[in-house]
């Protein structure tokens, strides 16, 4: 008889019951999903990007569906770090689950100020630096496109906090491996990839873009091969753990990421389609490992046979 496989992982010092996290911006602060699932069962909750001051976000329409994916241009709408702490973190306190806060900003000083405030809070178990939101410059994209600025930002935040530091990279660059190496050297404890891929859709009847913001970020199954490819490439360039995401809908999708070199995975767009997607994924992973007689999820990380 098989023993239950071990799903526990530790990413950058964050102890997780299993390697399944939520992708920032696709899970709110968990409140809406708590109507459907027990949040405590998740490996970790990564919250929507927060900035120093409240941000209104982009005008609508903000979403457009494409074959097997969606374009969004939310533009980091959020209530600012103070309200986030008072409301969202207060809510998340009730659950026995590591909370990782996704942070964005216009300037290094803004990132640092947000991280300082979050570092004082016990519930926060890690910071994910968003240097990759394609929908607003203030998503830090300018930091994520260039090795030097990514390093500068990471170093500044590293000096600010002892919390585990994850840097979320942009796929919209040619040298993602150089940037990954750069943030590793600058003190990042892990990287997460990928954020959405810049895209556009046009209405052939009206000749107008489908999104009010003209361009947006593509997510969902359509981007999975790009994401898996990037995880694989970067896993060979760096030694810190990788959190993989991009189009994960089920266990087989997640396995591709583990095999390519991700130590944990995050579920994004799939939450919109099935609010229980994360929980089903955890169950499916356990079942897969049991059937395959693999005792520990970590045993398959990076095991793609090339």
């Amino acid at each position: 008889m098989n023993l239950k496989p071990n799903l526990r992982v530790e990413i950058a010092g964050i102890k997780m019951k299993n390697p399944v996290m939520t992708a920032s911006g696709t899970f709110g602060s968990g409140l809406e999903y708590s109507n459907f699932i027990d949040l405590s069962k998740l490996g970790a909750i990564v919250t929507k990007g927060v900035t120093l001051k409240k941000q209104t976000g982009n005008p609508g329409p903000r979403v457009y569906e494409t074959p097997c994916g969606m374009l969004n241009s939310i533009g980091l709408q959020n209530k600012g770090v103070k309200n986030f702490i008072a409301e969202d973190l207060e809510f998340l306190k009730k659950f026995n689950v590591p909370v990782i806060v996704n942070v964005a900003g216009n300037t290094i000083e803004e990132y640092v100020a947000v991280v300082e405030q979050l570092s004082e809070k016990d519930v926060v178990k890690g910071i994910e630096l968003n240097v990759s939101c394609p929908n607003v410059k203030s998503g830090g994209l300018s930091f994520g496109l260039n090795v030097k600025s990514a390093i500068k930002l990471t170093s500044a935040v590293r000096k600010t906090t002892k919390l585990p530091l994850i840097v979320k990279l942009s796929p919209n660059v040619g040298n993602i491996d150089e940037i990954a190496k750069g943030v590793e050297d600058a003190g990042a404890d892990a990287v997460s990839l990928i954020n959405t891929i810049l895209g556009m859709a046009i209405d052939p009847q009206s000749f107008k873009p489908q999104l009010a913001n003209i361009v947006g970020g593509l997510s969902g199954p359509a981007i999975k091969p790009v994401a898996v490819g990037m995880v694989w490439k970067i896993s060979k360039a760096i030694n810190i753990p990788i959190i993989g995401m991009g189009g994960i809908m089920n266990c087989y999708d997640a396995l591709e990421f583990f095999l390519a070199g991700a130590k944990a995975v995050a579920v994004g767009t799939a939450n919109f389609i099935d609010p229980e997607a994360t929980i089903k994924l955890i169950e499916e992973l356990e079942e897969f490992l049991t059937i395959k007689d693999i005792s520990d999820i970590s045993d398959i990380v990076g095991q793609v046979k090339v």
Binding site: T26, E32, G60, P61, V63, E65, E276
Partner: protein, 257 residues
């Protein structure tokens, strides 16, 4: 709010490109209020992934509810092909519905096109109250008009308009509303659902006539439950989520483009 598999008990084509589905689903049928909607998976295994929102059209019994939908694209095309006795994956009931204040005595329901769906549910609820209500129903042309005998049974009076004059007033719902306000006693509240340009006009007319007005808005949605911030509309209090803060809004709150 439930996530369920609802059995399709009946499917009926009620007009060209308009279908009615009866769904067995006690969780939603017993708890939905008028104006709320359900988020339906229309395309499992197809090349599109997101759910599609549809208003609850009727609460047929404690166990069943109906949706009325118009085929406009791939999701609704696929839904129109769904087979009786198969199951639909549904989340609902979602959003905030129409609210009736205590001093409502005479209300007016204004619907444009498929906007008839949530207003029919409201009409059925109003039927069992003391509140008097009239309905204004506008459709593109007579062919598109479904059988309104249900609505005719329950509403005190119905006025129709069609773009080509094939039924009722020749013109839009907006003209019908102007006509109505000239001829009838002012309602104390207007509830409206239909295409955005119509709602914008209705909101303006209501404001000019100092009649409180509540409208059900549409926006493209991803999650349907308030998490993704896709479905926002612009209001005097900033962006609000149509799925979770609406879909019914006080019209005076909305900032139209």
């Amino acid at each position: 709010m439930a996530h369920v598999k609802a059995k399709i008990l009946n499917k009926e084509q009620v007009a060209p490109s308009i279908f009615k589905l009866s769904l067995l689903c006690p969780e939603i049928a017993s708890s939905a209020i008028p104006g709320q909607f359900v988020h339906v998976e229309c395309g499992k295994g197809k090349s599109f992934i997101l759910r599609r929102p549809f208003s609850v059209y009727r609460q047929a019994s404690k166990e069943t509810f109906e949706i009325l939908f118009q085929v406009v694209g791939k999701g609704t095309e696929s839904l129109a092909e769904a087979e009786v006795n198969s199951y639909l994956d549904i989340i609902g009931p979602l959003g905030n519905g129409f609210k009736l204040s205590n001093n409502c005595k005479k209300v007016l329901l204004v619907s444009g096109g498929i906007g008839i769906a949530p207003l029919t549910f409201l009409a059925e609820k109003l039927y069992s109250t003391e509140i008097i209500f009239d309905m204004l129903i506008g459709f593109a042309n007579y062919k598109k008009v479904i059988d309104f005998s249900l609505q005719e049974k329950i509403a005190d009076r119905i006025h129709y308009s069609t773009d080509d004059g094939s039924l009722g007033l020749k013109g839009t719902t907006v003209e019908l509303l102007l006509d109505y306000l000239k001829q009838s006693k002012k309602p104390d509240t207007i509830f409206a659902c239909g295409p955005e340009p119509m709602l914008k006009q209705v909101a303006l007319i209501a404001k000019q006539n100092k009649v409180p007005c509540f409208i059900s808005l549409e926006e493209r949605m991803a999650c349907g439950i308030g998490a993704c911030l896709s479905c926002v509309c612009n209001t005097i209090n900033g962006y609000k989520r149509v799925c979770a803060d609406g879909p019914v809004f006080d019209a005076s709150e909305i900032i139209w483009d």
